[in-house]
Amino acid sequence: MSKRFNAIRLRFTSWTVGRQGRDPAAPRRRRSRRAVAPLATVSVLVAGTALTGCGQQRDGDVYTVLNSSTDDSYHRWDAQAMARCSKQLGVTIEQQSVPAAQVMTKALRMASSKSLPDIVQFDASEMPTFAEAGGLVDLRTLGLGTDDIPQGIVNFGSYKGTYYGAARSVNTLALFYNKDILAQAGLKVPATWDELRETARKLTHGKRYGLALSAGGAEDGVFQFTPFMWSNGGDERQLDGPRVVEALDFWKSLLKDGSLSKSTVSWTQADVNDQFMAGNAAMMINGPWQVETLNTKKSLHWGIARIPVPKTGDKSVGPLGGAVLTVPNTGDRAREKTAGRIVACLAGQKEQLTYALNSWMVPADEKAAAVWRERVPELDALADQVAAARSRTAEVGAGWSSVSLALQSAFQSALTGESSKAALTRAQQRATSGN
């Protein structure tokens, strides 16, 4: 086969490079044969050292934080915060940023090669998985207090009652609306499902949809479904329960009215934001991390409100999102202690406030949140929503990824034709079978 292959490769070279390719092997035939055996040895040695090189030694005063701040501004904010804490604690803190979806697998690989960083910033929905594997240190034993932190947020960073993760800031979802479009139509901001359906229907006009949300096949879509499921009293342990079915039926009704685009099932939350900014949607469900992008368009006047509830008087329960700082179990108690102090600094009131003001998220700390409310009154609704928000892993813990995958598939099936009940019944089976 090699001969034919060479012919093809030569053709290919001439295609791309031009017809100057001579046979490069021709003048080299007189190489000494003696060089060959050492060459083989060297190649074996190189392979060997490359493999053993994986388990690296930790550097004395340099502490590493593994996070997902690959975005330019987040990376900068984190670097600044770490520089301040470095100065305060007299150590060097470095960050290593990988895309959010890779933090878990990267940390696991580091665990198996005994080269875990000193601090890992996990998305809160992933933390239980790592904690259950025995990879995290109880932050209380490292001297971190939880007195000023609201119980909901302590739970957010806890798994089976142990406090593993300190949140710097938290976020949730809210209803964003285009003030101009609503004013023009003379409509109020909807507060209940009926109002939302009615308002969205009236605002749908020409190329513009009344509402945009993400029902994409990833965590984004599930995150967006939870406020509808939970505000209606649904439970992620009982996906085929009537409350969850009702919530999904509500989504279906919005789609049937034409108030939601059919592309909803393929949109991420960033896509939803693009649609809203382009004026293709009058309202959207989204989170505060979009505010920075939203503000780049000066002509867009947006407001923010709580996500509508099934009936007047119901509580609007959204999902609590955000990352937590954790200290992995490296076995080196002294380093873990210092890492605990770094976490305490990064998640301290002062740093929380700075971070929250930069990123438009809500500080986890109660006192910092109070100051934050005064500084950004336009996001007041968000702070209320956060106070009532719920963590995705509170009930199912490390089983969340199974629930999430089953749920994605279910609402996508339902939004593209299947009945909500049938789709969710299948989802429940899938979630409990763990497959």
Partner: protein, 317 residues
């Protein structure tokens, strides 16, 4: 395969050149030299193909969870992973999607690629420029094409639907948002990506066909279609095998394109074995189940590799 191509000069010639020392030492040295050539390839294959392959097979019989990364313990659980995966309705779906996707992509890529190759095999002005332009989809990273196509195929704001709308051809096609259409759309995008590869290689094959054959056919009064069927296709057969097998190998394991276009959705309509492995291993962190699907994928590829080698051997004789 490269191992077998080592050539050794005839012993008599070597003896003459070295002034005829001890023949035993000479033979030993030659042996060493032979192994010296072979060793890097063997070591490389064992390290980077053999080890992962064996590891993957072993892993599919283990209860391999995040905990394993800390304790290093992965208890064997017999065929639990296999039976779980095979009982999962999603596996059957993914297998079917993979087959449809592979067959559809290959047929599309090959037919269009061959047509273009035949077309460019003629001499005409701007031939070179056009050929280079057609290579472009190949140069764009898969994920970039995926993201761009996702925008193009958007139901409401996509360029394709707007274009169809101005032509009065509807323009509300739910390319990626309907479970019935999504797989087809993904196949179409993959055909677009695969055309350059097919065309380049087939064009290379066409250039190898001696001109006399075509001239003789023309003298005999054969029609263009007849010439293509009786001369071009048979002489091109070895190259066609290469194109199809290589195309198969790269298509059956598709992952990045689908992740960028649909993420396996909507409603699992575009889940393939590749995306299922990814989902099992890196979303659910159930590495045993992921390994099972991965093994099935390897098995499918291996079957075709055997076909390919056999076809090749008979050709070579």
């Amino acid at each position: 395969m490269t191992m077998s191509t080592v050539t050794v000069p005839a012993p008599s010639a070597a003896q003459k050149a070295a002034g005829a020392p001890d023949p035993r030492r000479l033979r030993l040295r030659r042996r060493l030299a032979q192994w010296g050539f072979v060793a890097p390839a063997v070591v490389f294959m064992l390290l980077f193909f053999g080890y992962p392959l064996v590891r993957n097979i072993v892993m599919s019989f283990q209860h391999y969870t995040p905990k394993t990364f800390f304790t290093g313990e992965a208890p064997f659980n017999g065929v639990d992973n296999w039976s779980n995966v095979f009982q999962d309705a999603l596996f059957g779906k993914a297998l079917w999607h993979t087959l449809v996707f592979t067959a559809g992509s290959l047929v599309g890529q090959f037919c269009i690629g061959l047509a273009l190759a035949v077309f460019f095999n003629r001499r005409f002005p701007l031939n070179g420029v056009l050929r280079s332009l057609i290579l472009l989809p190949w140069l764009v990273p898969m994920v970039v094409s995926g993201v761009v196509w996702r925008r193009i195929l958007d139901q409401d704001t996509g360029v394709l639907n707007s274009f169809l709308d101005t032509l009065g051809l509807g323009g509300h096609t739910p390319w990626l948002t309907s479970p019935g259409m999504a797989l087809l759309s993904v196949i179409l995008v993959n055909i677009w990506i695969g055309i350059p590869f097919n065309m380049v290689i087939l064009y290379g094959g066409l250039q190898e066909i001696p001109k006399e054959l075509h001239e003789a056919a023309a003298l005999d009064g054969a029609s263009a279609w007849r010439t293509f069927r009786s001369i071009t296709l048979p002489t091109l057969k070895p190259v066609i095998t290469v194109v199809l097998v290589l195309g198969f190998m790269s298509t059956v394991k598709i992952l990045d394109l689908i992740l960028a276009l649909t993420d396996g959705g909507p409603a699992d309509a575009t889940q393939t074995l590749g995306t299922l492995t990814y989902q099992n291993s890196f979303v659910q962190l159930d590495f045993g189940a992921g390994a099972v699907v991965g093994n099935v994928l390897i098995l499918v590829s291996a079957v075709f590799a055997v076909f390919y080698l056999r076809a090749n051997r008979t050709e070579g004789k």
